[in-house]
């Protein structure tokens, strides 16, 4: 109780609220027309108190009460247009119902709500559930058990997790940890197709959530710690047939780089850089897997995603830029051909990856509305990048870092701190951020009302000793010995609001434990997130004031969503189940660290829910009794 009270007071950093408002007013003086095109026509005008002037294209414009993809829209906004729950009444949120899925690995996925059904996917053994939202307590409609190989558990670097399920055309599509993509009929829960995408024996796994656009589902592999070859592929939604596959290392032919490829910066131009930026042959085990998020811009028909760290994680063994590891790619959705690329951490020496989400916004910068992607990299720089060209418009640290001393806007490269470059056998103390970054895969949310982006981030450093490693198939190609600890301040986590036009932090809430949950922004101007020690919070989107907190059974590393039930009531749903990289030793050794779990919590105002008024034992099924009798005794 004492802890709770202490955490309720928000701590602010960066600009004061007054300053932020002033800045927003100035920016709104610029014309901020939404981008042209039919999808943009539906975009409402920028509210006067929008602090960045940002607009977001919410294609495919799913029904407001549903949540049909992990990020809800192609832009990866994780913004719900629902506003029944708002800053005025969110303090009355109570548990409406819960659901235990019977598994205990880390729960990193968001549920989907399509029509009157909720769909869940569990961590290993990767089961799927359909829950009937019209029934009191949301009973199970069907369970799908794909039985993936247990071998995959020990090949996944960071717990046997999944980051979620995708939906299209009456099918749920998701990745099994043992490298199969599977499609399941939403009505029956039966398997429609299953395609083997990689070899788990080599150390490759699949943990990312697919993105579906039209008749294509985009998937990628995991295994940057195992020396795999990273790839992204497009499969046909109907049959699972592979339409194209782009590798992250190797020749331009393998990487799907052709005449249309125009990176903004000169140092990424040239032939077959995916081969020549490595020592001879090392690209073959170069990692650069694709385990994060994919976003899509319908106006340009481009997908955006990032690749993982290069393998091995010991940089002296692979002199060169190591393209296309730790790189953001823009690719044509139909052909897979690369349009541009931008390597966030050249010659990544610290396992920083570039897999974090790319949120698509249209943003006034220096008097011009730019089509941008906003990306909080593990390397602790937040980037606002022109998504049509790959030009970095804003780059600013959002979390504590000392691996870099600044950012060169001319070359688009961070300036490396020579004192923090690892050498085998030499221990480097206090290197920040650590391998898991200033923020990991946990996705941020963006609001078109405030114009801000909200993210759970880390405040971490590591002591690092590199060891040279050899490639042995099926074992880690790794070599980093490290101990993570808190960065200055002592808190391990933080939840913050960010202005992507200025690169300024607007407010921040420091958390004692890691903040590794996704964020949810809503039209009620409330933002939701969870903590590794199991607190789930609602925050005022503008002031950062904590309005409501609830302790859940286990730690929260899932992604909150919002939906309308069949009763037209707004609900908030979040998985509780600690795991993934949130179970680091510094965390686990602190009092208050929770045990594993696997429970979905669903909240509503006052905890009201379908059938809650008649929450008494259901009538015993009796085939002989007429339906009218079955309802007797119920109000």
């Amino acid at each position: 109780m004492r802890n709770f009270a202490r955490m309720q007071s928000p701590r602010k950093s960066g600009l004061s609220l007054a300053g932020a408002l002033l800045l927003g007013l100035l920016e709104c003086g610029h014309p901020s027309q939404a981008a042209d095109g039919p999808a943009a026509a539906a975009t409402p005008p920028v509210p006067a108190n929008n602090l960045s002037g940002a607009t977001i294209n919410f294609a495919p414009n799913d029904p407001a009460g549903e949540w049909r993809s992990q990020a809800r829209d192609y832009a990866n906004s994780r913004y719900s247009p629902l506003d029944q729950i708002n800053s005025g009444n969110v303090a009355q949120l109570r548990v409406a119902w819960t659901f235990s899925d019977g598994t205990l690995h880390g729960h990193e996925a968001a549920p989907l709500v399509i029509g009157d059904t909720m769909y869940l996917v569990t961590p290993f053994p990767d089961m799927a559930y359909a829950l009937d939202l019209t029934k009191p307590g949301a009973s199970i409609k069907w369970t799908f058990k794909p039985n993936p190989s247990p071998l995959a558990i020990g090949k996944a670097c960071c717990d046997a997790v999944t980051r979620g399920i995708a939906y299209a055309d009456g099918k749920l599509i998701y990745n099994l940890l043992d490298d199969h993509t599977v499609a399941v009929d939403t009505k029956t829960g039966k398997e429609v197709w299953r395609i083997k995408m990689d070899n788990v024996e080599t150390g490759a796994t699949m943990t990312m959530a697919p993105l579906i656009v039209g008749n294509k589902v985009f998937v990628g592999n995991s295994g940057g710690e195992m020396g795999v070859q990273g790839w992204i592929a497009a499969l046909d939604v109907g049959t699972g047939k592979e339409l194209w596959r782009a590798y992250s290392t190797g020749s331009d032919k393998r990487v799907l780089i052709g005449a249309d490829f125009k990176p903004f910066y000169r140092w990424m131009k040239g032939e077959d850089l995916g081969v020549s930026s490595w020592p001879a042959g090392m690209w073959k085990h170069g990692g650069a897997s694709v385990w994060g998020w994919i976003s899509y811009d319908p106006q340009t028909n481009l997908i955006f995603y990032g690749t993982s760290n290069p393998s091995p994680r010991v940089p002296v063994q692979r002199p060169g830029y190591n393209l296309w590891a730790s790189t953001i790619f823009a690719r044509d959705a139909d052909t897979g051909m690369a349009r541009w690329a931008y390597q966030t951490t050249p010659h990544d020496e610290w396992d920083y990856d570039a897999v974090n989400e790319d949120i698509l916004m249209d943003l006034p910068i220096k008097g011009r509305v730019r089509k941008v992607l906003v990306h909080f990299d593990r390397n602790a720089y937040a980037y606002t990048i022109d998504r049509t060209t790959g030009e970095v418009l804003v780059a600013a640290p959002f979390a504590y870092l000392n691996w870099s001393t600044g950012f060169d806007m001319t070359t688009g490269r961070p300036i490396v701190n020579k004192d923090k470059e690892p050498k085998p056998g030499v221990k480097i103390d206090n290197l920040c951020p650590p391998d898991i970054g200033g923020k990991d895969w946990q996705p941020a949310a963006a609001s078109p009302r405030s114009g801000l982006v909200y993210a759970g981030i880390f405040n971490l450093c590591m002591d690092l000793t590199d060891h040279e490693v050899g490639y042995i198939a099926s074992t880690p190609y790794d070599g980093m010995e490290m101990q993570r600890q808190a960065a200055p301040g002592g808190n391990l986590g933080e939840f913050m609001a960010w202005n992507p036009a200025t690169g300024k932090k607007m407010w921040a809430i420091k958390e004692r434990f890691m903040t590794m949950s996704g964020a949810l922004a809503t039209a009620g101007d409330v933002v939701f997130y969870g903590t590794a020690d199991g607190w789930f919070r609602a925050v005022d989107a503008r002031s950062g004031k904590i309005l409501w907190s609830q302790k859940l059974g286990s730690g929260v590393i899932g992604q909150p969503i919002s939906y309308l039930g069949p009763d037209h009531r707004q609900y908030i749903a979040i998985y509780s189940g600690i795991g993934g990289v949130a179970t680091m030793r510094v965390d686990k050794s602190m009092s208050g660290f929770p045990a594993p779990g696997g429970t979905l919590y669903v909240f509503s105002i006052h905890g009201d829910s379908v059938g809650a008024q008649s929450a008494e034992p259901a009538a015993v099924d009796d085939a002989a009794a007429p339906p009218a009798n079955a309802n007797q005794g119920k109000p």
Partner: protein, 184 residues
């Protein structure tokens, strides 16, 4: 040497399976109620090679590490532990990461020297690779010697080498108490 013994063991197993299916195939009139082997006989199926014998904890207890706690063997085992990327999963301090902690006294597959040998030689179902083809027995025993030196393993007499770390008792080496045995 174990490589040669494996096929023989598999052959034994498959022969036994054949025998079983024959005898059961003849029982179309219902399961026989007499003449079944005793529980003791059924548990005595040999698994095929030197470390396989350790499916019986009693046999594993008769098989100490030939290197004992020889310091050179421990050092060589530690070097192998890094070179073969064991540290990548079990961590450089062996306290576990992708793979389990090797310093505590909880062992999924048994903490006696021969049981650890078998885990390394055969691999295990949740991702532990099989090293029997890549490493000769003497190298595997050196790895075992290093792991034993970390204090969580068990001596052949079934007691933890380091009682301070024995907060958990591995079920594989714990004899059932009379009370546990009598209750279903």
């Amino acid at each position: 040497m174990p490589m040669r013994i494996v096929p023989a063991g598999l052959m034994t197993m498959s022969l036994m399976l054949c025998a079983c299916s024959h005898s059961e195939g003849g029982s179309a009139s219902g399961p026989p109620t007499t003449g079944l082997p005793s529980a003791g006989e059924m548990s005595a199926v040999p698994m095929g090679h030197v470390a396989g014998l350790t499916d019986s904890a009693a046999l594993a207890r008769s098989m100490p590490n030939p290197y004992g706690d020889d310091a050179q063997a421990v050092a060589a085992g530690k070097a192998l532990y890094v070179k073969m990327n064991c540290a990548g999963c079990h961590a450089y301090d062996a306290k576990g990461n992708m793979g389990p902690d090797l310093t505590d006294s909880y062992w999924r597959y048994g903490g006696l020297p021969a049981q650890i040998y078998r885990s390394i030689h055969d691999g295990r179902a949740q991702g532990m690779p099989a090293w029997g083809a890549a490493l000769p027995p003497r190298e595997i025993w050196k790895l075992v010697a290093y792991i034993e030196s970390l204090g969580g393993a068990y001596s052949v007499d079934g007691t933890p080498r380091n009682p301070q770390r024995a907060e958990l008792v591995a079920p594989e080496v714990q004899a059932p108490s009379p009370a546990a045995a009598s209750s279903p």
